[in-house]
């Protein structure tokens, strides 16, 4: 447990746009220990989405090191990355991204289908995950029969069901009203208390302030790393380190 879960060292991600190189990430370094609850904040264009894609193993860096749970992500092929996402990462998206024609249970089962578990085991674990987010009475409902908060809970259950080492949430409250958003934040807080490692990408100071730690990005670089309340309050104005 002494090893950090995530080690990021001089991470670069450059895009070629119209013959010009855009440095979406320009030498980002940090590490995150197991059980931490970290917000990644920054304005749009700061590189936080790029960072999330890299941390989520959806994309590979131009240069630099990304070590997740002790293994180097560099050089993995597409299938290996897919398997790594399946095992190590649980995604929560801003717009929930549930399959509209599948029940809550079927939605939550999906990552386990890709893992090759038996039907019975999938069912049991999916039911357990739904229970953990308080939706034991909504298992056979389809997304359009659920409220926004409930949908996001299903999405969280889907992210948790594979027992990943990292929960990665992209603007998880962005599509919810403030009361429901608060409900989801409380859910994250509970998950944190149970020992899950949570990484939230957000531009909402209110959400960042609730996280014990926040990392602020600006122009592809880390410009702040500290307690959530401080980083959220700082805004982009004060640059801690260049």
């Amino acid at each position: 447990m002494s090893d950090p879960l995530i080690v990021v060292d001089r991470l670069h991600r450059h895009y070629l746009v119209g013959g010009e190189t855009v440095r979406a990430l320009d030498g980002v370094s940090f590490s995150i220990a197991r059980g931490e609850w970290v917000a990644i904040v920054g304005q749009s264009g700061s590189g936080k989405s790029t960072l999330m894609n890299l941390l989520g193993c959806l994309d590979t860096p131009t240069s630099g090191v990304y070590r997740l749970n002790g293994s180097d992500v560099e050089g993995l092929d597409d299938d290996a990355l897919a398997d790594l996402r399946n095992r190590e990462i649980g995604f929560v998206f801003q717009t929930f991204q549930l399959l509209p024609r599948a029940t809550a249970l079927q939605n939550v089962e999906l990552p386990l289908v890709y893992r090759g578990l038996s039907r019975r085991e999938r069912r049991a674990r999916a039911a357990q995950a739904l229970e953990a987010v308080g939706l034991q009475n909504r298992m056979t409902h389809r997304p359009n029969e659920l409220s926004g908060g409930q949908r996001q809970r299903v999405a969280v259950a889907r992210a948790l069901v594979g027992n990943p080492s990292l929960l990665l949430a992209d603007e998880p409250t962005g599509n919810l009203d403030s009361a429901t958003g608060e409900e989801i934040i409380r859910l994250f807080s509970e998950l944190h208390a149970r020992g899950h490692t949570l990484l939230l990408v957000t531009h909402e100071p209110r959400l960042a302030a609730r996280c014990p730690r926040a990392i602020r990005l600006s122009d592809g670089q880390v410009v702040g790393d500290g307690p959530g309340t401080e980083i959220a309050a700082l805004g982009a104005a004060r640059v801690v380190h260049g």
Binding site: N53, G56, L58, D59, D78, D79, A82, D83, R85, N86, R87, F91, F93, Q97, L99, R101, A102, Q106, L110, P111, V113, Y114, R115, G116, L117, S118, R119, R122, R158, G162
Partner: protein, 421 residues
């Protein structure tokens, strides 16, 4: 399940999941699915219906062709199955086949199991009281006819050696001929009655059982006479047909033997071609297969073109489906779906759509065949192979035309797919 490896279970799970998605998206867009599969439905329907009709034709033809004797060579002046008109005039001028040839074949064809001469009037007239039959075939033959050409007697007897040897005025009526000359009579009652054949009085000695048709020849209206009587009363200046049977394995050798005998008897110089023809059932089969083969090819061609059009429809709708579900693909990839998984999902969807279309098309095609066989003389035969063919073909079309959209879906970049609006 426990014995299954993780990989196999994953594949199974993905297949089941793929099927579930395919069915739910089919049900989710019923009208679209219906329109998409219409091309396949029509294509499969066409092929199935035509195949069923052709198979029915084949069955009917095989039945007919058996009626002229499977292992029989019919030696005649004329080539029955000939290509082109010119030859017919040449054949007409050939020397008639006569009794000399018959005797020589009877004497020397050691491989023959039966030899029967036939001499015919094609548009004959037979009368009985005030009933008249016109335009029927009157054939002079001998008892071996039943061995070489088939047929059975329903009442009385067939011609005998004595009928032939004494040139008796005996006649055997085909089933239809008997029914029409003696309407409402039992076949047994006809025996012993008198009829006029081309003006000559004959005594009915037997009536044939029903035999059916061969090509345009109605075997049931033939009136049989002893060939000796025929040649005496109806005119001797006619060419004989010699029907010669053998064991099936000797048919080719028999033909060689017959050619040798006839060339010698008819004094054909070695450098001249045969001035007679050995007609076999298989020549009809060949001709028939040529005709229906072309029909088959056209039908299958039309069906395939329709299937290709249907396939393009499926490809089109699958491309739309991939675009519509770009974000879903991104989510699935994020949750751990490999490229293969996505590929499989869309392949399953396209082949399920196509196979369902194929199933509907098969049902409609069989229905069409049924209607055709009820409404027309064509007998459509439904075979399980046609059904299997229809389903297999449509599934293959689904796979083939679904593969490009599926490949496009599979190579989507997860980041791009998730960002897609």
């Amino acid at each position: 399940m426990r014995a299954l490896g993780q990989g196999a279970r994953r594949l199974l799970g993905e297949l089941v999941e793929g099927l579930r998605i395919a069915l739910s998206s089919l049900l989710g867009a019923r009208l679209r699915s219906l329109l998409t599969t219409l091309g396949i439905v029509i294509g499969v329907m066409t092929v199935i219906a035509i195949v069923a009709i052709i198979q029915g034709l084949n069955a009917a033809f095989e039945e007919q062709i058996a009626s002229i004797g499977t292992h029989t060579i019919h030696v005649s002046k004329y080539q029955w199955v000939s290509q082109g008109q010119g030859e017919w005039w040449l054949m007409r001028n050939r020397k008639d086949l006569g009794l000399a040839e018959l005797r020589a074949v009877e004497r020397e064809a050691t491989l023959a199991t039966a030899v029967a001469p036939q001499v015919s009037v094609f548009q004959g007239t037979v009368t009985q009281a005030d009933h008249e039959l016109r335009g029927i075939r009157i054939t002079g033959t001998d008892p071996r006819y039943l061995d070489t050409n088939g047929g059975a007697v329903a009442a009385g007897r067939f011609l005998t050696e004595t009928d032939v040897d004494l040139s008796r005025t005996s006649a055997v009526l085909g089933f239809e001929a008997g029914q029409r000359l003696f309407p409402g009579w039992e076949p047994e009652a006809i025996v012993g009655r008198r009829v006029r054949v081309e003006g000559h009085v004959f005594t009915v000695v037997g009536a044939m059982a029903r035999r059916g048709k061969f090509m345009d020849l109605d075997l049931d209206t033939i009136v049989f006479l002893p060939y000796t009587t025929f040649l005496r009363d109806l005119g001797g200046k006619r060419s004989l047909i010699l029907s010669v049977s053998s064991a099936p394995e000797h048919l080719q050798e028999l033909q060689d033997q017959l050619i040798g005998i006839l060339r010698r008897v008819r004094r054909v110089p070695p450098d001249r071609p045969d001035d007679f023809a050995c007609n076999k059932q298989e020549e009809f089969l060949k001709l028939y297969n040529q005709l229906t083969g072309a029909l088959y090819a056209v039908a299958v061609g039309v069906g395939l073109i329709t299937l290709v059009v249907g396939g393009i429809g499926i490809m089109n709708i699958m491309l739309v489906s991939v675009t519509e579900r770009t974000r879903e693909i991104g989510v699935r990839r994020a949750l751990g779906a490999r490229r293969r998984t996505i590929l499989l999902q869309f392949l399953i969807e396209s082949s399920v759509v196509a196979t369902l279309g194929g199933a509907v098309g098969t049902a409609l095609g069989l229905g069409t065949a049924r209607v055709v066989s009820l409404a027309t003389p064509l007998a459509a035969a439904v075979t399980p192979s046609a059904v299997v063919l229809g389903l297999t073909f449509s599934a293959a079309v689904g796979l083939l035309f679904g593969s490009w959209p599926a490949w496009r879906a599979a190579r989507l970049d997860p980041v791009e797919a998730l960002r897609y609006e």
